[in-house]
């Protein structure tokens, strides 16, 4: 069918529909010249950009699902340990060498041990639920630190430019040349001693440079905008212009990359812990659950690694979808 097809169809439909009161067919032009509908009150509701973004976000189905899953994970991290507390001594008798398989594998109707147990008889479900808290805390804590530093450094560099910009960005370059992995491993071993707060700080202090670059680039383009000059012409101070006028305009991309930072911090925690450089073995996190499972893989107890691993994969995927939706929703160019 050609491009004109649907349009032509619509027109012919219209001409069939519009029949004058006398029954004679009317063409569309006559219709338009006929009596117009009564003047009606047009009330346009004022949507601010957040409301517009929310509308667009809702249309992005995967993002909504992702947000739902992320929300559930957050709730799990907060309330899970209260509902299903971890008791070091609550051990199930172990019948298999690598831990008991999930209860439903024997009896599909039982709710006992849905994720199986580890080799010591601890419920993997409880390990996973309780691990959510630390994993999420580290993910979010890292993001808060990294975003704060990144935004401050990036906005100063971008707004003031010149020497300040050069200095700050050379420092960022330096940070980015550091082999991230080794520094994390070494620092975690040196300062960490398995403390989740120290681990969060280390991540936060290493994660900000990318964000600083992004913020700087945003500021460089935003400060050339007419409204910034207009604000200066009104007598607004530079600091106020930076944080009150430019920052809100840069918030969209910052939020998007912040969500993605949460995901990568969770993954980094998991893998640092997996290498036994992260949290203490007694702290419960998804990474630790994976780490302890690795030694028994050989006996085919897939559930021990599978469920915490799925929790990580699910959360990270959900966050990425959420970030994707936010990117579309907050992009000022995608107005429709």
């Amino acid at each position: 069918m050609t491009d004109q097809g649907p349009g032509a169809d619509k027109n012919s439909n219209r001409q069939e529909v519009f029949i004058s009161p006398t029954g004679a067919p009317m063409n569309v032009v006559q219709m338009a010249e006929g009596p117009q509908p009564q003047d009606f009150e047009v009330s346009l509701e004022s949507l601010n950009q957040w409301q517009i973004a929310w509308r667009r976000f809702k249309r992005h189905r995967l993002a909504v699902v992702g947000t739902g899953i992320f929300g559930v994970m957050i709730l799990l991290a907060i309330f899970g340990p209260i509902i299903w507390p971890y008791d070091r001594l609550a051990l199930k008798p172990v019948t298999h060498s690598g831990g008991n398989p999930p209860g439903w594998m024997q009896n599909p109707r039982t709710l006992a041990d849905p994720f199986g147990t580890d080799n010591g008889g601890r419920s993997v479900f409880i390990l996973t639920v309780n691990g959510a808290r630390l994993s999420m805390l580290i993910g979010i804590g890292t993001t808060v630190i990294a975003v704060t530093i990144g935004v401050v450094v990036g906005s100063f560099a971008g707004f003031f430019g010149g020497r300040i910009d050069g200095l700050l960005m050379r420092f960022v370059d330096f940070m980015l040349t550091i082999p991230f992995l080794f520094v994390i491993l070494v620092m975690a071993r040196f300062f960490g001693a398995g403390d989740p707060i120290v681990l969060t700080l280390i991540f936060g202090l290493l994660f900000w440079p990318g964000l600083a670059r992004l913020v700087r680039a945003l500021f460089l383009s935003l400060r050339e905008q007419d409204f910034v000059q207009a604000a200066r012409a009104v007598g607004v101070s530079d600091t106020r212009i930076t944080f009150r006028h430019i920052l809100p305009n840069a918030l969209g991309p910052i939020i998007v990359s912040a969500t993605l930072l949460v995901a990568s911090a969770i993954v980094t925690e998991a893998f640092v812990s997996f290498l036994n450089f992260g949290l203490k073995a007694t702290d419960l996190s998804w990474g630790n659950a994976l780490a302890s499972s690795q030694q028994y893989q050989i006996v085919g107890n897939w559930w021990w690694a599978f469920f915490p691993g799925m929790a990580i994969a699910l959360t990270v995927t959900a966050i990425n979808f959420m970030g994707d939706g936010l990117r579309d929703a907050l992009d000022p160019r995608s107005r429709e």
């Binding site: 601010n48 007419d226 409204f227 207009a230 012409a233 009104v234 007598g235």
Partner: protein, 359 residues
């Protein structure tokens, strides 16, 4: 258009007596760029009395906007540099003023209306927030009072239903409406000088007339002085009393609107006037000023306009005429010196349509 909301300034009369409100003396603004130095503004002087109106006319790139940005000190330095000159506002030199004080002058004493209403408002704040910000900043009003003031000033620029508009975001308003908001913002602190930089260029013709009319009314009502920057001689004829014609960073002619439009002296002014289409010239070819503005890195010797000037003669390529060199002194052209051997240029036909606009 609703009126009488903005307070009428009582001392318009006292203000306009005595020395000028704004006096620009030998202002030079240079830009240091990769290829060298651009002399965007190269030694211009003019003044505006309180409550008076001055138009600055010239084609793109002649330094009009740079002049206004220099006055407001909104240029980034570097690359810009102001190697010489004084900008006296109420006797104080804006160029040497500390940043802190300059900020109090901006918006409060001198307000500016920009060319692009579509992008000059911050997209993430409501119109009311943006007007209120200026008021809070300069007049120390409370949030509530500033908000009321914002509504009041929207009403003053002829916006219907200001209580609703004040809560809207820029993207919900049309271009003309946004320019009204910009004007409301500029006037919210009762400035003594209003600089309008091509305020109607981005608007369509019907709205242009309304906005000009609005600027004229509010200027009249508040007694603020107006400096109107435009390339449109029609706009100048309708809006201002005095006019300065700029070419390549220099002032080439100045005088009252009547003098300049009815009896242009400088060949450039003549060319500008001749290039406007008019009813009287129907069917004729439109006159153009042949050639282009000289390359800023390679200015011609002598008069900047000489390469394009139909009357150029020997002195023009040798020395650079300035305002005051010729007789009468308000034109920078060697044709008007006593020693000139060239015939005086034939006058362009008076622009009757522009004359009508003068009223």
């Amino acid at each position: 258009m609703t009126g009488s909301i903005l307070p009428v300034d009582d001392d318009v009369a006292t203000r306009s007596a005595g020395r000028p409100l704004l006096e620009v003396r030998d202002l030079r603004t240079y830009f240091h760029v990769m290829d060298g130095v651009v002399r965007a503004v190269d030694g211009i002087s003019f003044s505006i009395m309180a409550g008076e109106t001055l138009g600055i006319v010239g084609e793109s790139g002649c330094g009009k906007s740079v002049t206004s940005l220099s006055i407001m000190r909104l240029l980034d330095m570097p690359p810009a540099e102001i190697p010489s000159g004084e900008i006296l506002f109420e006797g104080r030199d804006l160029l040497t003023m500390p940043d802190e004080e300059m900020r109090k002058v901006r918006g409060n004493d001198i307000a500016m209306i920009f060319q692009e209403p579509m992008t000059s408002l911050n997209p993430v704040f409501t119109v009311g927030d943006q007007i209120a910000e200026a008021v809070i900043l300069h007049q120390g009003l409370s949030k509530k009072a500033a908000w009321d003031k914002a509504i009041e000033s929207l009403k003053a620029v002829g916006i219907n239903n200001p209580e609703r508009r004040v809560k809207q975001y820029p993207h919900e308003l049309s271009g003309g409406m946004r320019q009204r908001v910009m004007i409301a913002m500029a006037l919210s602190c009762d400035p003594k000088l209003l600089i309008a930089d091509e305020p109607t260029t981005a608007l369509d013709v019907t709205i242009q007339a309304q906005i000009l009319e609005l600027i004229r009314t509010v200027q009249d009502r508040t007694g603020a002085a107006l400096m109107l920057i435009t390339h449109d001689l029609g706009v100048v004829a309708e809006t201002v009393k005095d006019v300065v014609v700029m070419y390549a960073g220099r002032i080439v002619e100045e005088g009252s609107v009547e003098e300049v439009l009815l009896a242009p002296k400088h060949p450039y002014t003549e060319g500008l006037l001749g290039s406007i289409p008019s009813r009287g010239k129907r069917g004729e070819r439109l006159n153009v000023i042949r050639g282009t503005v000289p390359n800023p890195f390679n200015m011609p010797p002598g008069c900047n306009f000489a390469p394009r000037c139909p009357y150029a003669f020997e002195p023009c390529t040798q020395a650079d005429p300035r305002i005051g060199d010729a007789n009468p002194p308000d034109v920078a052209c060697w044709l008007y010196t006593a020693t000139a051997t060239s015939p005086t240029p034939p006058r362009v036909r008076p622009r009757l349509d522009l004359v009508e606009a003068l009223g």
